[in-house]
Symmetry: C2
Subunit: 148 residues, 2 copies
């Protein structure tokens, strides 16, 4: 059935972030939609942010493009150059390798939901505001390469 | 600017379909969003269907996954196994190689809009209801391989 039946797909709230960075995403819940539908050319997630929750620590990817479609509620997109409110129907695009970290924060009093698509090659990524990187061999590491 | 400014991106209504298959998509308008934002890992289009317009002739792809996010209005998804109404916030997924053609028809009295993502390798495609295929060398051809 090509129409996505969200209720049939497991929703998770886990994160691999080491403390204390995990706390900011405690109210983030997501479903991985691509595996459930046999898609392999890109990843697709449905993400819900409770009020106050962050989508991630602010980051950018070395090898993966990202695209976002806001479908419910609103959140604030935070980047190097400021803050932008995204509302239902708004879109955002992040090309790989652009060293301008991004994340969404739900500053409203209602949940928000968005669809995010990621493609390309996972070569790791960098977190803008904290001493953390994602290394494809070692996972979450400090910016000097030592592990958490 | 990662937030997509749709008004700044050219909107087109062209099609390469040979007559009479072009008439069904005459009320389809689209913007190519990926090139405007430097995305190369997948394609992204914003598509608007006027009342009565089709998204395409009913088709499936040999080498490309597709994913759709309805963001405004509603349309009917038509496939081998029936009709499904898609409303704002609804999602649909089509894995490459699944020989179940799909398209959307706007049967409502207001425009509808959706975002569609495509990835993978363009190996051509097949049209379910008409004597047409897409060949990566020859373009639109009859199912016996002769060109239009």
């Amino acid at each position: 059935m090509p129409k996505v039946d969200l209720a049939s797909i497991e929703r998770t709230s886990t994160t691999g972030y080491p403390p204390p960075f995990d706390k900011d995403v405690a109210g983030r819940h997501y479903r991985r939609l691509a595996p459930a539908h046999g898609l392999t050319d890109f990843g697709v997630s449905e993400v819900t942010l409770d009020p106050g929750a962050w989508s991630s620590q602010r980051h950018w990817h070395y090898g993966e493009d990202e695209f976002l479609v806001m479908i419910e509620g609103q959140a604030v997109l935070v980047e190097d150059d400021g803050r932008t409110v995204l509302r239902a129907g708004d879109l955002a695009a992040w090309p790989k390798g652009a060293a301008n970290g991004h994340h969404l924060i739900n500053e409203s009093d209602a949940p928000c939901r968005f669809i995010v698509i990621g493609g390309g090659e996972n070569k790791g990524g960098c977190y803008s505001d904290i001493d953390m990187m994602w290394d494809t061999t070692d996972g979450y590491v400090h910016k000097d390469g030592t592990p958490y």
